[in-house]
């Protein structure tokens, strides 16, 4: 199940323009090269941006998103568990930031459980299936225009139908 790179811009609206440019610059490298090494470099750059703007939600959002993107494409890679832990930590940090869009948090949580299912469908399918559904539904309830949630939900349905 491959998830295309989606840049949810909602988080960046209120953020510093320079930070947005840096994030865009970092993410754009993945358009040319989506190898595991390129992902890791991108995530490392996003963490550097996060260190520059420690109170901002956007770098954390993209750290989580790109960590999950890598994990869903490489569910059993050597680095995947570490990146899943990065994603969990970034989501926890986002929840601490008052202004974070709750729809985005729900989307990331749904994505996290979705990766767990991709890693071990037999065991985790039954355990996390409803969580994935509920988080995407909640994300779309809170923001019906959340394209990332829509696209991930669609991918999840496609994946389920293939099973």
């Amino acid at each position: 199940m491959a998830i295309t790179l989606i840049a949810s811009l909602s988080l960046c609206h209120a953020q510093d323009a320079q930070m947005g440019a840096l994030i865009g610059q970092s993410l754009s490298k993945l358009q040319e090269d989506s190898s595991p090494e390129a992902f890791q470099t991108c995530i490392a750059e996003l963490k550097r941006i996060d260190a520059m703007y420690p109170g901002s939600a956007a770098p954390k959002f993209y750290i989580a998103l790109q960590s999950l993107n890598f994990s869903v494409m490489n569910p059993h890679a050597e680095q995947t568990e570490a990146l899943m832990a990065e994603a969990e930590q970034a989501i926890a940090q986002l929840e601490e930031i008052q202004q974070t869009d709750q729809s985005d948090i729900c989307t990331l949580k749904g994505f996290l459980y979705m990766v767990r299912i991709v890693q071990d469908p037999a065991v985790n399918g039954q355990r996390y299936y409803l969580d994935v559904m509920n988080y995407y539904e909640k994300a779309l309830k809170l923001n019906p225009e959340n394209r990332l949630a829509l696209q991930l939900q669609q991918k999840f349905f496609e994946g389920m139908n293939q099973r």
Binding site: L22, Q25, S26, Q40, T41, A44, E45, K47, R48, I49, A51, M52, Q79, A82, A85, E86, Q89, A92, Q102, A122, V123, Q126, R127, Y129, L130, D131, M133, N134, E137, K138, K141, M160
Partner: protein
């Protein structure tokens, strides 16, 4: 010309500055070897690199002068150094492992969690339904865990040598006065709540914090599901119960209902038992929930449930007839009131009205009404990753009326309690939970202060060891308070528990020895009740869960040893309570075979000691099958006690054995989702 030269020099200087580069390189280790994947960078820039398989890094930055270099990796403390750029070469960086904070560590000592959590033992509602011999009953499902006691004549929870009343149930933090559906003496009672109500349960076998009180042995806190995101409607049918439930989801809230009728009339006709029923067991239940997300950090949950039970049987020449009305409702609000600060407020009402005709002799009438209002407020504050605290107050307002022929009593009292809890990481890997609970009972104005503590050593994610000690209290049952009045004081139990746990991805092993000292237990003598009873309970529990033996197979094994003695109620000497067995063993296996899930459970308990003799051992081999027939249809069937052993539960004073009313129990049910966008979701609530 002079102006041109000046301009040229300035331009060259600017160009040289523009292309000045500093080469930064080095190695990152953690004392044991190179660390791979460390993000090493110049703070405030994107310049940096990731360490390779030998821990090496190398990059070029255009920054000059004094720079701050940072090395960052999950699980390690950040490393930072500020120095002249030219000196940042051939660096030897050593990272220190980051000790887990309170948020990252879940101490599981003496607790089994069910639901979605980071804790080791995880089952969801479907697992509860599919547990070997549970038939969808939470209480029966919990009895596969160590520390629980098999007491077949009522099916209630008995934990580590404690009576069933010593285990108390809480829904969203609020107390439930009677968590069981009722039945006649000697008949199995089920938990009154559906497993689908809850997203998580946390069954503590002792050593719990100050938040919970009025439970000498154990607590079962359960958390209801969150606001539903979509509409649901479903029905289920079996040989003995019919159910319909549904949910309407709104933008930020959801409203659910559930109605259930249990009638053993048809079942008893198909599979007769050893009882002479005059009126088959019937229970009509209705439940409703309204939950609303008031904001991103505030949630209001309300629940109301009503059960009506009716049953009658012919026994010893009497036409025993019973009816019960059981109401439970609660409302809780949890909201964030500041940074890291959460406020909880709740109110719960429990009311149980029971009437029995021909209770002891023909023509008599027994009437009992019990009511409890539970009020609670709690404030939790996370000061930093190393310290959390909570304080709370609560009040239990209780009244009960009991009449039997010309005798009876009316009892009104309340119990005020306050608690304080602190969780602190003393040093890396060492955690301390300290709590204190104070209680005052109005009927004898007695104050009681109970300290509790747990020290945990958590060196890594696989192993943890804890030692717990604390004092717990509970008011005796209303009958004994009514008899003893001011003489009867709260019973206490002092717990000392050691817990050791090892868990890998697919295997969990836990060993817990414990010792409990009971004091001030109710003791009956000459028609009055005093608080002169006492006793002890000691033993150990071993629990193993593994999914490592075979793909799609999960096996659990639980063994409990208990040595318990007490002088209480009508005992004339210190002796083993009738409900305890010295040895309890449970083995379960669950195997998924495509869309069919097979379950097997074996339960063994050694004999129970009565004044007139000891019962034979208890043994039951149970099997079940769940068939995911269609995304909207699930079929479940189970057969308890396949071997058909006639289990004996009691020995009467005249030596007559009293056993199960039927040897085997067969159940088949079909669960259908009429409206639900999720496959295999049989929860309509």
């Amino acid at each position: 010309m002079k102006h041109f030269v000046t301009t040229l020099i300035l331009a060259l200087t600017t160009l040289c500055g523009a292309f000045a580069q500093t080469h930064i390189n080095g190695t990152v280790t953690d004392g044991q070897g190179p660390v791979i994947g460390v993000n090493v960078f110049v703070v405030g820039t994107l310049d940096g690199s990731i360490t390779d398989s030998l821990g090496r890094f190398s990059f070029v930055t255009r920054q000059t002068g004094e720079l701050t270099l940072r090395a960052s990796m999950l699980g390690y403390e950040d490393y930072s150094t500020t120095a002249e750029s030219a000196t940042l070469r051939d660096l030897d960086i050593r990272l220190n492992e980051k000790a887990a904070s309170l948020d990252e560590v879940v101490v599981t000592a003496s607790t089994y969690s069910i639901g979605k959590s980071n804790q080791i033992k995880t089952m969801d509602a479907l697992d509860v339904v599919m547990a070997g011999n549970s038939c969808g009953d939470i209480v029966a499902a919990l009895q596969v865990l160590p520390g629980t006691q098999k007491v077949g004549e009522n099916g209630k929870l008995y934990v580590r040598g404690g009576d069933s009343e010593e285990c108390q149930t809480f829904v969203n933090g609020m107390h439930v006065l009677v968590p069981y559906s009722t039945n006649l003496e000697g008949q199995n009672q089920r938990g009154r709540f559906s497993p689908f109500l809850f997203k998580g349960m946390s069954f503590s076998l002792g050593g719990y914090g100050g938040e919970y009180g009025q439970a000498l042995s154990s607590v079962l806190p359960m958390e209801t599901t969150d606001v539903a995101t979509s509409d649901k409607l479903g029905v289920s049918v079996s040989l003995l119960d019919w159910n319909i439930g549904g949910t309407k989801a709104f933008q930020r809230s959801s409203l659910s209902f559930n109605a259930d009728l249990t009638d053993l009339g048809l079942y008893t006709k198909l599979f007769p038992d050893r009882c002479d029923w005059t009126r088959p067991y019937r229970k009509l239940s209705g439940e409703a929930q309204y939950k609303v997300d008031l904001s991103a950090k505030s949630v209001l949950k309300t629940y109301a449930g009503y059960d009506w039970t009716s049953v009658g049987m012919l026994t010893e020449g009497r036409k025993l007839s019973m009816q019960e009305h059981n109401v439970y409702a609660n409302a809780t609000l949890r909201t964030q009131v500041g940074s890291g600060c959460t406020l909880f407020a709740g109110i719960a009402e429990s009311a149980v009205l029971s009437d029995i005709d021909d209770a002891l002799v023909s023509g008599d009438h027994y009437h009992n009404f019990r009511n409890e209002v539970h009020l609670k407020v709690e404030l939790q504050k996370r000061f930093n990753p190393l310290l959390k605290m909570s304080v709370g107050v609560e009040d239990y307002i209780r009244n009960s009326v009991k009449t039997y022929e010309e005798t009876g009593y009316q009892l009104d009292y309340h119990l005020f309690a306050a608690h304080w809890d602190a969780q602190v990481r003393i040093v890396p890997h060492l955690f301390l939970n300290l709590s204190a609970r104070g209680e005052r009972v109005s009927y004898n104005r007695e104050w009681k202060l109970m300290p509790r503590a747990m020290l945990s050593f958590v060196p890594n994610t696989r192993f943890q060891a804890s030692v717990m000690a604390g004092r717990y209290s509970q008011t005796p049952e209303d009958d004994y308070i009514a008899r003893g009045r001011k003489e009867i004081r709260q019973s206490t139990a002092d717990h000392l528990i050691l817990s050791m746990q090892y868990g890998s991805a697919r295997t969990l092993l836990r060993i817990e020895p414990y010792y409990k000292w009971y004091r001030r237990l109710p003791l009956l003598a000459d028609g009055t009740c005093t608080a002169d009873g006492y006793g002890y309970s000691r033993g150990f529990d071993i629990y193993l869960e593994s999914a490592a033996f075979l793909k799609n197979l999960t096996v659990t094994a639980a063994y409990s040893f208990n040595d318990s003695k007490r002088l209480y109620l009508d005992y004339t000497d210190l002796r083993t309570p009738e409900y305890t067995s010295r040895h309890n063993f449970r083995l379960t296996a669950k195997y998924a075979l495509g869309k069919v899930i097979l379950g097997l459970a074996e339960s063994y308990a050694s004999g129970r000691v009565y004044a007139a003799g000891t019962t034979p051992f208890y043994n039951s081999l149970d099997a079940n099958v769940t068939w995911l027939l269609h995304p909207k249809v699930i079929v479940y069937a189970s057969l308890n006690n396949i071997l058909g052993r006639t289990n004996i539960y009691q020995i009467r004073p005249d030596g007559t054995p009293v056993g199960a009313t039927r040897d085997r129990f067969f159940y088949i049910g079909i669960f259908v989702s009429l409206k639900n966008n999720k496959a295999y979701d049989i929860s309509n609530f």
